[in-house]
Amino acid sequence: MKPICCIKYGLVCLSLLIGLGACDKFNDPSVEFTEVPKNITGTWKIIQVTRNGTDVTGLMDFSRFRIHFKEDNTYAIDNYLPFLVKKDGSWHLDDPLYPFNIVFKEDAADESLVYGFYYPVVDGHRQISLSFKPGCANNIYTYIFAKES
């Protein structure tokens, strides 16, 4: 019995050594991971629109709408459609590394508007997804944007 137990313990020890070796490699100090600040500056166009969960992208011309997020943290809108802000103004993300919200402040407005910010990678490209209620509170619209330039 004793030799068998030794063999068992030996196997366990070998496994631990292999595991520890793997951990050492993973923690290689020469490899550093740094979260990159989310940079949304540029011009974005609408690629999908849902109304109360139903895709209405092909039912209306959304192609001319553009929102320009500028490096000075101002934004401008071309060819306005129902959206979360109506006038041009300023913007910022609540956290550049891990943003959960985007904050808009229209020019001459007293208050800022905070909206949930989703920034998924789809087919290797970043998209922005924003949901809002420009009319009745029971109607929820989601615009998905792709970067144009």
């Binding site: 969960g53 209405v56 039912l59 209306m60 009745c136 509170a137 029971n138 109607n139 619209y141």
Partner: protein, 332 residues
């Protein structure tokens, strides 16, 4: 009480046994749904789901799951109360609670119960999409016991809104250990006939039957995106065979102004969806060029051919015709 239907055969199996804190799930049968076919606006409607549970397995940590498909305006999350009585439980009524949105069905990860049911069943046979699935589970967590059969009555009390509504309501039963899996043995669904809320305020929202015209969403302002449909398959009209159909519309604002779009152009041309159904989707504020400080009170619209010689309007009780009307308002 109206008996919706009876299932005589033993459908495979949803079984839920609720006995002294013990749930026995396996095969689930929805035998019938009892209800009065009408309710007065603002009052409480009661529905009773008669369930037969035939467990064929033992399982720990199980909850009974019930979901209802109702008009959004009823705000079921606030205004519905669900309880159940197990035939083996000495008539004791027990409570059910809303399933948190962050708890997915076991076999539908990434989706809430409401989203998963909407994806699977849509809005049932209803023709308007202003409905929602609301899911509940038993407060009590139990375990299944093999071959102990029993009946469960689930009572749904819901205070309806003040609107006049006709809709086919949905009732769904499942259990948490299945969670919308692959076998219908573990879940069942049933719908009422056309249930009606009467003596209410405003226009009738008819979810049950398709009409020649459809305006969505049901509640809007000038800053929503709206869709107007001409559903020519519903009944014969003078526009049968016409391939280019246009919308003629005017809106009345609260300040007494009237804005009309009476033209046959790319702006008013409706898209062919399928068969004889055409639609036009637009932002009213822009379509009618409404000033920022004005709000629309209601819209009147009808459908025409390219030269405006043929039109489809609403036929009134006295035989005269007029535009279809839709108020612009938000739900309270």
């Amino acid at each position: 009480m109206k008996q919706l239907y009876k299932i005589k055969r033993k459908a495979g199996a949803g079984i839920l046994i609720l006995m002294a804190g013990i749930f026995l799930f396996s095969c689930v049968n929805l035998i019938e749904i009892l209800y009065n076919p009408t309710v007065k606006a603002g009052e409480v409607a009661t529905f009773t789901m008669k369930l037969r549970m035939e467990p064929h397995e033992n399982h720990p940590n199980i909850r009974l799951v019930i979901a209802i498909l109702v008009p959004k305006s009823w705000d079921a999350a606030k205004n519905a109360k669900l309880t159940y009585i197990n035939s083996l439980d000495n008539g004791i009524s027990k409570n059910m609670s809303l399933i948190p949105a962050n708890v997915p069905p076991k076999n539908q990860p990434g989706l809430s119960w409401s989203e998963a049911l909407r994806q699977k069943y849509g809005f049932g046979a209803n023709v308007l999409d202003d409905m929602e699935w609301v899911a509940y589970w038993s407060d009590e967590v139990g375990e299944t016991v093999n071959n102990l059969f029993f009946d469960v009555d689930v009572r749904v009390d819901i205070k309806v809104s003040k609107e006049n509504i006709r809709a086919k309501l949905g009732f769904f039963v499942n259990h948490s250990e299945d969670g919308l899996g692959n076998s219908v043995d573990h879940y069942k669904i049933g719908y009422t006939d056309c249930f009606e809320v009467v003596d209410g305020e405003g226009p009738l929202f008819d979810f049950c039957e398709a009409h020649i015209n459809l305006f969505t969403p049901s509640y809007v302002t000038k800053d929503d995106i709206v869709t107007v449909k001409f559903q020519g398959d519903v009944e014969p009209t003078v526009l049968d065979g016409v391939r280019d159909i246009y919308l003629n519309a005017k809106v009345y604002t609260h300040s007494g102004q009237v804005y009309t779009v009476d033209e046959r152009s790319a702006k008013t041309k409706m898209q062919l969806e399928q068969g004889k159904t055409f639609s036009l989707t637009f932002w009213p504020g822009d379509y009618f060029n409404i000033p920022a400080d004005e709000e629309i009170e209601h819209i009147e619209y009808y459908f025409t051919n390219a030269d405006g010689t043929l039109s489809v309007k609403e036929t009134n009780d006295d035989g005269s015709t007029s535009g279809f009307e839709m108020p612009f308002m938000c739900r309270e």
